[in-house]
């Protein structure tokens, strides 16, 4: 399937995957993230059951200390 990940087109071999699986595949290893799927916030406790499908728009932010 094709998704948009952080404003870029991306291909994933599976037809659908969970947010947790996407994070693993794409190596998002930071502890603290903010994830949006199609504009909606997905909280940490939903990473395992929130499903990403073809055409979805996914934003992953690494939260980094400093300011």
């Amino acid at each position: 399937m094709k998704i948009t990940l952080n404003n870029r087109q991306d291909s994933i071999t599976q037809d659908q995957i969970t947010v947790s699986e996407l994070l693993k595949i794409k190596n998002f290893t930071f502890k603290m993230l903010v994830i949006k799927v199609n504009g909606k916030l997905v909280k940490k406790d939903s990473y395992n059951n929130s499903v990403i499908k073809d055409g979805d728009d996914v934003t992953v932010l690494h939260l980094i200390s400093g300011g």
Partner: protein, 205 residues
């Protein structure tokens, strides 16, 4: 937001810019390196109302990047910053809250702002603000500062937009004892946040 709004911002005089900006209120969440420098930049160009929150006091270690002076060490940051901005322009209306922001008070304090500038230092606080706003103030533009520790590598600092989240920073450099936040890169990101605020507001025309 459409792409062609960018072109409009480049054909305004400073008088026109000021007269447009005076109608807006900007929330600044945190008065450290990002918040103090961003607030000053916004006040200089014509933002007339700021709502600034921070619970901290000015310390010596802040002076390597934050818009405070040595004789303000020990003062509440929100009070010191208000003083400094009003020395630049006494007409700026500055509402200060000496408070630690959380899931509940963010909404009350910032709901009437046109834009919120996220200017915290800790990742946990950044996450809390973003999640709270996406949940409770879903239409509000949030301008984030993410990743600016160290020095050099100016081109790593970038801007991107994800709907109403506007992200400024390299999204990589985490602060550490051997990678401190310093005036130049913190200033770049703080001013990039201010610049983004202008782009959003002036693009509305």
């Amino acid at each position: 937001m459409s792409k062609d709004f960018l072109s409009k911002t480049n054909i305004m005089t400073f008088e026109e810019i000021k007269s447009e900006l005076k109608n807006y209120t900007i929330g600044i969440a945190g008065a450290g390196g990002l918040g103090s420098n961003c607030a000053v930049a916004l006040a200089r160009v014509g933002i007339r109302k700021l709502i600034i929150c921070d619970f901290d006091v000015v310390s010596e270690s802040n002076l390597n990047r934050q818009y405070f002076f040595r004789d303000q060490i020990g003062e509440k940051k929100v009070i010191a910053l208000k003083e400094n901005i009003q020395r630049i322009d006494p007409e700026v209306d500055i509402i200060t809250e000496d408070i630690k922001l959380n899931e509940n008070n963010i909404v009350d304090i910032y709901k009437d702002c046109d834009i919120i500038v996220e200017a915290f230092d800790l990742a946990e606080m950044k996450q809390m603000l973003i999640e709270t706003c996406l949940t409770k103030l879903p239409e509000k533009p949030i301008v984030l500062g993410l990743g600016m520790a160290g020095f050099g590598n100016s081109n790593s600092i970038q801007f991107r937009q994800s709907e109403n989240l506007y992200i400024c920073g390299d999204e990589k450099s985490e602060i550490a004892d051997n990678n401190p936040p310093l005036a130049p890169r913190v200033g770049i990101v703080a001013n990039m946040q201010a610049n983004t605020v202008l782009e959003i507001l002036l693009g509305k025309k």
